[in-house]
């Protein structure tokens, strides 16, 4: 009886704690969503209030590209930025999958000279500060004509997406019993067929998780596009800067822009939630 009461108390405490944690992490998102339906005047009112007349003006401004402020109207290209984000993130992940999956397989299955060193060097891209390479890259990109192009940015984005995919997928390949692949070879299939028909399908959950994570990381990147492109190719993360205007900061539009930019990753994450958690924990254990 005593035990039962204690566990009931423990349950209650756990519920309260979970609610607190949830509030802590979800409140900013909740507040941003609220702000996106408010005018700048409502947002800046002190004290802030939960009661206001919702407006869709912020979204209309973003979608039409026409931002009306107190001092006049301003052209913004937020929808273009959103499109750029989609193009850059998808293309980067696609290229990384194309390069990273065979590389991950090689690292998982074969021991070769300097193999571990190469794998580690690729991983080290994840913890080297981007600013370290940005300035030289800018100069080279201008010389090579890659400045302000999708191709140039997708290339640089490989620093973010490739190591992630390589290391997570490698762990998944290592988990597949080599005997399964051996059996397929003995059946009479070549190594390429074995890779495509056995290894890749069996590592699919890992590939999905890694691709999703890489997509999110690419989507959230700010600094590469800020330096290496103009507004023609810049993603939403950089595009949001346009709302800091001469006549003040357009909090409403920024909030609406954030909500829009959150949606694709949110949808993706919800769709692949199971894979995501699996991939994250595996990456942590296998590293």
């Amino acid at each position: 009886m005593q035990h039962h009461r204690q566990s009931a108390i423990a349950r209650a405490i756990r519920g309260v704690l979970l609610t607190l944690v949830g509030l802590f992490f979800l409140f900013p998102i909740f507040w941003v969503v609220l702000m996106s339906f408010q005018t700048n005047a409502d947002i800046l009112r002190t004290p802030p209030s939960l009661f206001f007349t919702p407006t869709l003006d912020n979204y209309v401004a973003l979608i039409t590209g026409q931002l009306d402020t107190a001092v006049g109207s301003l052209k913004i290209s937020y929808m273009r930025n959103l499109w750029n984000s989609l193009v850059l993130s998808s293309a980067s992940v696609a290229l990384s999958l194309l390069l990273g999956i065979p590389a991950a397989y090689a690292f998982a299955r074969y021991r070769f000279r300097l193999g571990e060193n190469i794998a580690f060097t690729l991983l080290s891209f994840r913890f080297a500060p981007p600013l370290l390479v940005l300035l030289p890259l800018l100069l080279y990109f201008q010389d090579l004509g890659l400045y302000d192009t999708y191709i140039g940015l997708v290339w640089v984005y490989q620093l973010i997406t490739l190591p992630l995919i390589l290391w997570i997928v490698r762990g998944y390949f290592e988990d597949i019993s080599p005997d399964i692949e051996h059996a397929y070879r003995v059946d009479g299939h070549g190594w390429l067929a074995t890779f495509l028909k056995i290894a890749v399908p069996l590592a699919r959950p890992g590939i999905a998780a890694a691709a999703l994570l890489a997509f999110i990381f690419a989507w959230n990147n700010f600094v590469f596009a800020l330096i290496l492109g103009s507004s023609d190719v810049q993603p939403v993360t950089v595009g949001a800067l346009a709302f800091i205007t001469a006549s003040g900061i357009q909090y409403g539009q920024i909030a609406a822009g954030l909500v829009l930019s959150m949606l694709p990753t949110l949808v993706l994450a919800l769709l692949a939630q199971r894979y995501l958690v699996e991939g994250l924990s595996l990456g942590a254990v296998k590293g």
Binding site: I180, H182, R185, D187, G188, G190
Partner: protein, 364 residues
């Protein structure tokens, strides 16, 4: 030249030889059981033959063709892995069809052959199942069907009955020879169980310490083991061994055990240490005196399933293990008592104590 010819095969891992100078010839259609304790390199041998591992030396020839440098997909070999190694994302049907698909067979042909082998192995009712939906026995049969379906030149079976339960193991031990005979294929059968090796192999190769200690028909390996180590690997309870000395007189060399004189062939030196081995079923025990028997003390009676195990002590206190058929066991009520025991000297084996080699038996 034999159908499958392995010469001086060597494989090292981190400088340590797992197989060393191993040679084996297998005739077409023959079943050879490769038997040895765990870690003796049985699986490594199969992997080298299948081509999923590369030897550090030696060569493998199949029907006169050197396979040593060939990749696994060009070897005409079927292999059933100990852990089954089924493709988890394919149905049992697709698993079995895999070797035929690799050969580019037509769908009609594939369907006919998969059905045939599945019917033979009695898994035709589970062909649409994924491997995770199969019982262990069905998994093992599916793996076997996949190895058999393309009628390979050589079939490698890596302890296929290891991971199935006892009942199924007995069933398969009876069924396998029938299936293998039907396919008339050459088989290398790896096992850790001497009974399985003796039941399934036309010849048994005893692998220990990286090479074959003895290769021969099961009866020969059992009755005339080449070394004391080979003798020890067969039988349950295993052979009993006693240290003795070689004696010599005008009638030749001999040694003694349980009152019986065991002649030893000419090569033996008088005074040299030797080991006398006798299998427990060859110790005859009686409750009353019988000719040539020695009085011993019966210490314990342990019924096993078919034979009963008797623990004896001779007057020097040496422990002797004997077995007798279950129905004879009624003559030995449990408890400490005096009984009589004798051996047939012609059944006794004598080994050199130093080298472990069996000494030739002398004339009785």
């Amino acid at each position: 030249m034999a159908f499958l010819e392995i010469r001086n095969l060597t494989r090292r891992f981190k400088g340590k030889a797992v197989l060393e100078d191993l040679s084996l010839s297998v005739e077409r259609g023959e079943t050879v059981a490769v038997f040895g304790p765990s870690g003796s390199g049985k699986t490594v041998l199969l992997r080298l033959i299948a081509g999923v591992d590369r030897p550090d030396g030696g060569e493998i020839r199949l029907d006169g063709v050197d396979l040593t440098e060939q990749p696994p997909d060009r070897r005409d070999i079927g292999m059933a892995f100990q852990n089954f190694a089924l493709y988890p994302h394919m149905s049992a049907y697709a698993n079995i069809a895999s070797p035929l698909r690799a050969k580019g067979a037509s769908e009609d042909e594939i369907r006919a052959q998969v059905r045939e082998v599945a019917a033979l192995l009695r898994i035709d009712h589970v062909l649409t199942h994924a491997p995770r939906e199969l019982s262990n026995g069905q998994k093992q049969r599916t793996a076997l069907a996949r190895a058999l379906v393309q009628r390979p030149g050589v079939l490698l079976l890596d302890d296929p009955l290891r991971n199935v339960d006892a009942k199924l193991r007995y069933e398969m031990r009876i069924e396998l020879p029938r299936v293998l005979a039907r396919f008339q294929t050459t088989v290398l059968y790896v096992t850790q169980d001497y009974r399985e090796a003796m039941a399934l192999g036309q010849r048994v190769g005893v692998l220990e310490g990286g090479s074959f200690r003895q290769i021969g028909p099961p009866e020969t390996v059992y009755a005339e083991p080449a070394t004391v180590d080979v003798a020890r690997l067969f039988g349950d309870p295993t052979i009993i061994l006693f240290r003795r000395r070689i004696e010599s007189d005008g009638n030749g060399a001999w040694t003694e055990f349980l009152g019986a004189r065991i002649p030893v062939g000419a090569a033996a030196d008088a005074g040299a240490a030797c080991l006398v081995g006798i299998r427990p079923e060859h110790v005859q025990v009686a409750p009353a005196p019988i000719p040539d028997a020695v009085a011993v003390v019966l210490d314990a009676v342990t019924p096993l399933n078919v034979r009963t195990l008797l623990l004896l002590k001779d007057r020097d206190g040496e422990e002797i293990v004997a077995t007798c058929p279950e129905e004879d066991a009624a003559r030995f009520p449990r408890g400490h008592r005096d009984v009589w025991a004798r051996i047939d000297p012609s059944r006794a084996l004598v080994f050199d104590d130093r080298t472990g080699l069996r000494l030739p038996s002398g004339r009785i």
